[in-house]
């Protein structure tokens, strides 16, 4: 197949953005929705075709799947070697990401037509969705670091716009600013990392940088800084950018607040696509991490592992259903980071890499499904709080069933997709890093527990306070919303059978995957334990959860308060940075810098006030001065001649 068509996957959403963004106010609301959805549908078909011909229809050489660049043009040329390109690069992970993004994006587009119906700003919503899809697709096909950085900022921007979609709500505005500032702060590290890395390699191009036989990896730079090589520092800084976007501890604080945005946005951006950009970034530069900077990879593994445990514990205590899902997302992304962190390069050693990408793929499906299901529930009861729900299985049969499938998938119950990918991650961790394996094993149990806590609190356990907020009896969402749910449910149930170990691997060559039945059964066991615990506690409303919470009050309160990370941030920014740095700087600015300027202005003013009588406007006075001066000059010249 001719891959040049793949450019349209990226350009179509951009065109849709231009049309709906510029003319959206002048067309009927539904038309902008249809334009966005249609462009996404075409992009979806194109990416499926691209993926099919890339993975299955083409013959792969001895080098495995080769990276293809159907388009690569020089965009900014600074010199012979230093130039920034724009282009499309197709390799296993970018093709996989194209499929993930277009699938989820298409589902979210369709779903939004129903979910956002009647909202003011419908066209604006679709314009932003298209902008986001365009940026995210541009990010994954980037041929070089700089293009990736540009699109990276663009997804940050569209995320900002969509979180702040309800701009009349102060909390949404605060959340959008928080998301933008936190990720922007992390991107500072990313930019520094890019500059350092391209300083050592002299190029931005991914294929040159990540070539395992390339100079960066075979002849590591001898330059050291603070006991680490320049490459290690560069990729650690780049990971900082990735950690910010992927909401890794301690840069995760924006993600739960980002749930202020409309629910389809949370499904698309804050669950399935944008937040995995950090994972994708590390995967993109994986040969550098694995071969040239193993200590940076250790950092990735531990940050991922810690974040997943941290978020899982918090998720067990939250009562806002979208926040539970947000922390669950953070926990699952921690899994992916950890899998990358424990992976080696090439063949069987690259199991973690494969598992990470596999989990990214399956997670996108079931987490998007969970969010869209949650959106359907919120649509029915008009509340995010668990206490307003309960017993909804009778009213929302389709949502209930699809949500259950997603919960089973994320809990790692076979044959649903999450089982396969999570199992691979556990195997990779088991083989390379025992402490992290233990952490992940616990997290697997916690995941099953909090997901089923959520499930039971929404769909079972009736309480007398339920549905107080609803204006009417809860009802099932329209077909336009349930259709994406059903599609994603089918995907969540089946994508686990894809032969990822032959398709997406660290060195682009397939390898034989071995099923580890002992580990698999152990992971299913812990999942079942979590589900049983949740069933006992939340199947019917009872006082048991409260009593358990009372039993470990300190831990419960700390987790409910999200371990006070927000408070720590506020303390650090307000007390330490503000008083220690900003206030003195402001004083300096106000008194020294402004003082100098004001002093100059004051001096000029005072002098002019004194001499302003010279400019009297009286012609005769000027003539008098003129004559007197001429006489004085004449006299002095006369005296000098004498």
């Amino acid at each position: 197949m001719d891959y040049s068509l793949s450019v349209w996957i990226i350009l179509l959403p951009f065109l849709a953005f231009l049309i709906t963004g510029l003319a959206g106010g002048r067309m009927k609301a539904i038309v902008s929705g249809i334009i966005g959805t249609a462009s996404m549908a075409i992009a979806f078909v194109l990416s499926i075709m691209t993926a099919w011909s890339y993975f299955f229809a083409s013959t792969q050489g001895a080098e495995g799947f080769a990276a293809i660049s159907p388009i690569n043009m020089v965009w900014l040329r600074f010199g012979d070697t230093l130039h920034i390109d724009l282009g499309v690069m197709l390799d296993p992970i970018s093709v996989m990401m194209l499929v993930v993004i277009t699938t989820v994006s298409l589902m979210v587009h369709i779903y939004s037509i129903g979910y956002m119906q009647g909202e003011s700003g419908f066209a604006r919503f679709f314009a932003c969705l298209s902008l986001f899809s365009f940026s995210m697709l541009g990010l994954v096909v980037a041929t070089n670091l700089f293009q990736m950085y540009m699109f990276w900022e663009l997804v940050g921007l569209s995320s900002y716009l969509l979180i702040g979609f309800y701009y009349d709500r102060p909390s949404a505005v605060a959340a959008s600013k928080k998301a933008f500032i936190v990720t922007r702060f992390a991107d500072l590290g990313f930019l520094l990392g890019i500059l350092l890395l391209s300083f050592t390699t002299g190029t931005f191009d991914f294929q040159t940088i990540t070539n395992p036989a390339g100079p960066l990896i075979t002849q590591p730079s001898s330059a050291m800084f603070m006991g680490a090589s320049l490459t290690t520092i560069a990729v650690t800084l780049i990971f900082m950018g990735g950690a910010g976007k992927s909401a890794m501890f301690p840069l995760h604080i924006w993600l739960p607040d980002a749930m202020e945005g409309p629910t389809p946005v949370s499904a698309l951006i804050h669950a399935a696509t944008m937040v995995v950009a950090g994972v994708y970034l590390v995967a993109r530069l994986f040969p550098v991490y694995a071969l040239a900077a193993p200590s940076a990879l250790q950092i990735v593994a531990w940050v991922g592992g810690f974040s997943s445990l941290f978020a899982a514990v918090i998720a067990c205590t939250q009562t806002d259903i979208k926040r539970v899902l947000a922390y669950s997302t953070m926990s699952q992304i921690g899994y992916m980071m950890l899998a990358l962190g424990v992976s080696g390069y090439g063949g069987e050693n690259g199991l973690g890499y494969m598992a990470s990408m596999f989990h990214l793929f399956t997670h996108a499906m079931f987490k998007a499904l969970l969010f869209l299901g949650a959106g359907s529930v919120i649509h029915a009861v008009h509340s995010n709080e668990m206490k307003d729900m309960g017993g909804l299985r009778k009213f929302l049969p389709i949502t209930h069933l699809t949500f259950l499938i997603a919960c089973l998938a994320i809990s790692g119950i076979p044959p649903f997709a999450g089982f396969f990918s999570k199992d691979e991650i556990l195997v990779a961790a088991f083989q390379h890093n025992m402490p992290l394996f233990v952490i992940e094993y616990i997290v697997a149990g916690l995941t099953a527990f909090y997901m089923f806590r959520l499930y039971y609190r929404i769909f079972w356990s009736d309480s007398e306070h339920s549905h107080d907020n609803a204006h009417h009896t809860p009802h099932e969402s329209p077909l336009v919303m349930t259709l994406p749910l059903m599609f994603l449910a089918v995907a969540s149930a089946t994508v686990g059978f894809l032969p990822f170990h032959e398709l997406v691997t660290s060195d682009h060559k397939g390898f034989e995957a071995v099923m580890h039945w002992d580990l698999a059964s152990a992971s299913v066991l812990i999942g079942v334990v979590g589900i049983v615990a949740a069933t006992v506690m939340y199947r019917r409303s009872s006082t048991l959860p409260d009593r358990i919470a009372e039993g470990m009050k300190a831990l419960y309160t700390a987790a409910y308060r999200k371990f006070y990370i927000d408070e720590i941030y506020v303390f650090v920014t307000k007390r330490i940075i503000f008083n220690g740095i900003s206030a003195p700087v402001a004083w300096f600015d106000r008194h020294i810098v402004d003082g100098t300027m004001n002093g100059i202005a004051w001096l000029t003013n005072a002098v002019s006030y004194r001499i302003r009588n010279l400019q009297s406007g009286q012609l005769q006075w000027y003539a008098f001065v003129l004559v007197i001066s001429v006489i004085a000059l004449g006299v002095s010249a006369f005296c000098m001649i004498r």
């Binding site: 400019q615 009297s616 406007g617 009286q618 012609l619 005769q620 003539a623 008098f624 004559v627």
Partner: protein, 105 residues
């Protein structure tokens, strides 16, 4: 022509005329008086030209022509100036320079 009047006398007269003109220009408040003072200054200069031409270079004509030009230009200038003064008078109902201080702010 007047061999018994020395050059210095003519120069003294023209100097007096000049400084009377300057003094008038600086002290008078009436625009017409100021205009007359300028005429006086111009005529003092013209007188100088004629006198120096006559006494120092009797065979040449440049000084005379300068004087003629000055007279011509003075006439034109007087016409323009009087027109301006009339216009000012129409606007301000006054020909006193101290009343015309619009531009000073």
């Amino acid at each position: 022509m007047f061999p018994d009047i020395p050059l210095s006398h003519v120069v003294i007269v023209s100097t007096l005329m000049f400084f009377i003109g300057v003094y008038g220009f600086m002290t008078r408040k009436n625009l017409f008086a100021i205009l007359m003072s300028t005429e006086l200054i111009l005529n003092a200069v013209a007188l100088n030209f004629v006198a120096f031409n006559y006494y120092l270079y009797p065979d040449k004509m440049q000084g005379l022509f300068f004087a003629l030009f000055i007279i011509g230009i003075a006439a034109a200038e007087a016409a323009v100036a009087i027109a301006i003064i009339v216009a000012i008078y129409k606007n301000f109902r006054s020909v006193n320079v101290e009343d015309i201080s619009q531009m000073k702010q």
